[in-house]
């Protein structure tokens, strides 16, 4: 079953084409890596899929809803974790969970029960009443991810979720992503780290607003005759007219 289907999606800002006629689809439960250099158009594409930006032309269906006409329903079916840290630092851990759960319409009773469970799973029971600003960055990032999937969305969009996090925490973070995927949540993730690209089921690589490659990491390595994803990425990025290489 496809949870994301995109056809000829285009976004123009004035004369600049940020996203140029892209088409792809993502299967339910898949971990889909969305790669590209800075300015390649990943964030713009992702914002269109989340209903934050309306496309100039083309079509997109996310979680069964049209992104142009049913953006409210799209919003209710997805989770989102932004590049910038998105929890409130001056709220306590449980208050943050309750706030986001409330926005997504999770009932008070269910929120209470599941908060207990979640904190136990993360090993954060003692931090229930701590302000988020007192937690180390890695913990916050894990908490932010848990909060973004608290309402059991069918898809979660992660915009460079591991920026600035140490390797050990990144490892743990990816384990959480796998667990979410096993629960049937589709994960749509952008990243800068090429080793993380290897963890994805499939990756797409954007260059100058277009998707230049889309396949499993193993097939891409074979296709480009590269030892790792980093080399695949560099070979593709070299074609870009933007980076001056």
């Amino acid at each position: 079953m496809k949870v994301i289907e995109v056809e000829n999606l285009t976004k123009k800002f004035g004369s600049f084409t940020a996203v140029d006629n892209i088409s792809f689809s993502v299967e339910k439960g898949e971990i889909f890596g969305f790669l590209g250099a800075n300015g390649a158009g990943k964030t713009t594409a992702m914002r269109m899929l989340c209903g934050l930006l309306s496309p100039t032309s083309g079509k997109g269906v996310v979680a069964g809803y049209d992104i142009l006409h049913d953006s409210e329903k799209v919003k209710a079916s997805i989770g989102y974790m932004s590049q910038k840290f998105a929890l409130y630092e001056d709220l306590k851990v449980w208050e943050n969970i309750r706030l986001y759960a409330g926005i997504y319409g999770v009932s008070e009773k269910e929120t209470r029960e599941r908060t207990q469970l979640l904190l136990a799973e993360l090993g954060f029971e003692k931090e229930r009443n701590s302000l988020v600003k007192s937690l180390p960055l890695g913990w916050r990032q894990k908490l932010a991810f848990s909060v973004s999937i608290f309402h059991n969305p069918s898809i979660v969009f992660l915009d460079e979720p591991t920026g600035g996090v140490d390797p050990v925490t990144r490892r743990q973070f990816w384990e959480m992503i796998y667990q979410a995927s096993e629960r049937g949540i589709t994960v749509f993730v952008t990243t800068h780290y090429m080793d993380e690209a290897e963890y994805c089921n499939r990756v797409s690589i954007m260059v100058d607003g277009r998707i230049d490659a889309l396949d499993s990491p193993a097939s891409l390595r074979k296709e480009f005759g590269a030892a790792d994803m980093d080399e695949v990425f560099r070979k593709l990025a070299r074609k870009s007219k933007n980076n001056g290489l």
Partner: protein
Amino acid sequence: MREFRIFVQKEFFHIFRDRWTTLILLVLPVLMIILFGFGITTEIRNTKFAVYDPSRDDATRGIVNKLETSDYFTLDSYLSSPSQIEQLFKEGRVGFVVVFGEKFYHSLLHTGDAKIQLIADGTDPNTASVLTNYATALINTYQQELLARQQIASGIQRGITAETRLLYNPTLKSAYNIVPGIMGMILMLICALMTSVSIAREKELGTMEVLLVSPMKPFLIILSKLVPYFTISIVNYITILLLSVYILKVPIAGSLVLLTALSLLFIFVSLSLGILISSLVEKQIVALLISGMLLLMPAVFLSGLMFPVETMPDVLQWFSHILPVKWFIIAVRNVMIKGLGITSILKEVALLAGMGVIILVVSIKKFKYRLE
């Protein structure tokens, strides 16, 4: 409704968990009323003055006596030479110096060109002009009394005597002028400045993006931001009124209901301004600067709070007309100080309501429901 309640609660947490925000919102208004009401005052009391008097005759003694026996001035010293004057001002010992000409009484009676000079410190022009005005008035009184005595002696009545009476604020208490101004400033500060900064903060931290991706309606996000600042404005409105009536002794001459309705209207205008500013900017510091420079500073200078607008250059006077706070202050003066009814403030109310609606419509159009 539940998400709205949780959201409003979150806004209150933001405010009360930050010590500085709490201080600004609840303590600053009280401090401002007390500082402006008592500290910054245009009334003159017991200002010291010095005298250089080469004549030392009846008339000069009479004038010095007149100045000294008033509530406004006390004599600091007699100077032996005019060269001492500058030193006195440098030390800041006196507010002004009176310099008499030679043979003062003689000139006054016979040649009619008795010379008297008042020297004040021009680095503070407001105080200087108030001091010299008061002193001139006293000297004139002395002159009239002197003339009156001579007229009685000679049996002729002549001369014009102007008697001044100030309505609504008979004792010239500056608090009467300051309370409406402070009220306008505080409401502006809380509604426009704090609201715009708090929305800009969510944009800067990236939480606004997450909220916009959520199913929560942008309209509700903004509304829940307004609730706490609206509540705090009401609390401050009540505090300011209580302080001004019981501490500064400025009575509410007009209708309290009308005054409250007027203030609610102004709160609505200021909140709309706050939303407008936050819809234009991405950073807290920019929101702060715009609100501070474009709203608060002009509110202080152009609204007539400290200086009369009538004496300003035309450009500035024209600019002051577009400031909502100016009209609010005028209306509050009419209702609270003069005790006038609604018919006296129809123009101000219409202007405020018009501004509020325009600002709100523009800011709703500007507010980016989608992050473009």
